[in-house]
């Protein structure tokens, strides 16, 4: 079960109002390589993993992804909460505002809604873990693109958070790689 702790994984106190940047960052909330997809993918795959250590890893990484999701949401929320309607329009968020006001929603940077077809579960640990490694690389690459924006704008506080999240993807990739190797070794040693 999950228990909620009333704090962020990492502090986020953004000084800027910038709905354009928020529109880009929201892709890590509801986009194809974002934190919602990651948490759902791992937390769903874990049920049919062949051993407890892999069930543990997927549970733990999946849970951290939910922490990340909250951090992305916090950045989008803080970047837009003081925005004027004009600023929202100029940022290309008029349609979003019509449907949601300033509420967050699970969409990518183009406003496309989240779909569960972004993720997969095959009841095959090699397929699942390989997908997970790919997912972490795609997330890392996305953070690189977002950092291009925040660095160009010279928003150091945003860049600091994005860089933290990017580094976590690198670590997760490492962990999934270790788990895949261990499963493959076990499989090969049985032959």
């Amino acid at each position: 079960m999950w228990v909620y702790e009333k704090k962020l994984l990492h502090p986020i106190k953004l000084r800027e109002t910038d709905p354009f940047l928020a529109k880009m960052i929201i892709t890590q909330y509801g986009g194809p390589d974002g934190e919602l997809g990651a948490s759902l993918r791992y937390l769903n795959q874990r049920y049919t993993m062949p051993n407890n250590s892999t069930k543990a890893l997927l549970t733990d990484i999946g849970t951290e992804e939910m922490d990340h999701m909250e951090m992305i949401a916090t950045m989008v929320y803080q970047l837009t909460k003081n925005a004027t309607l004009k600023q929202m329009e100029e940022a290309g968020l008029a349609s979003h505002f019509a449907d949601h006001g300033k509420a967050l929603f699970y969409v990518d940077a183009g406003g496309n809604p989240f779909t569960v077809t972004y993720i997969q579960a095959k009841d095959d640990p090699i397929a699942d873990l390989t997908e997970d490694m790919a997912a972490e690389q795609k997330a890392r690459a996305t953070y690189n693109h977002l950092l291009d924006f925040s660095r160009q704008l010279q928003y150091d506080d945003v860049s600091e958070v994005l860089a933290f999240l990017r580094e976590r993807e690198v670590v997760h990739f490492q962990r999934f790689g270790e788990a895949l190797t261990q499963i493959q070794d076990k499989f090969l040693s049985k032959k």
């Binding site: 009333k6 704090k7 962020l8 994984l9 990492h10 916090t74 962990r175």
Partner: protein
């Protein structure tokens, strides 16, 4: 995890809220990191020992924070008549 830190203390001799919360965040992040490492390397005795030290330190800081500044989980027992869980600010507003 050894670092020398000057800890701000308020008039009651208790560490400042933001200072405690910052240390709490560091310790909880260390727990997250070590947990997934140990999931893959359960035989690493050194890591396990460090993890236990981190958890002990976390429990102390957590207890001090909650006793002085309010609940972090809804079932944290606080000496207060108020329903602080619902009333105190949420992390996306406070930034912590």
């Amino acid at each position: 995890m050894q670092y020398v830190k000057i800890k701000p203390i308020n008039n009651a001799g208790v560490r400042e809220k933001s200072d405690l919360l910052r240390e709490l965040m560091e310790l909880e992040f260390a727990v997250v990191e070590f947990t997934m490492y140990l999931d893959n390397h359960p035989e690493d005795m050194a890591a396990l020992a460090t993890f236990r030290d981190i958890c002990k330190q976390l429990q102390e800081v957590y207890k001090t924070y909650v006793e002085n500044y309010g609940p972090l989980r809804s079932d944290d027992v606080i000496d207060s008549d108020k329903w602080l869980w619902g009333e105190q600010d949420f992390p996306w507003d406070s930034g912590m």
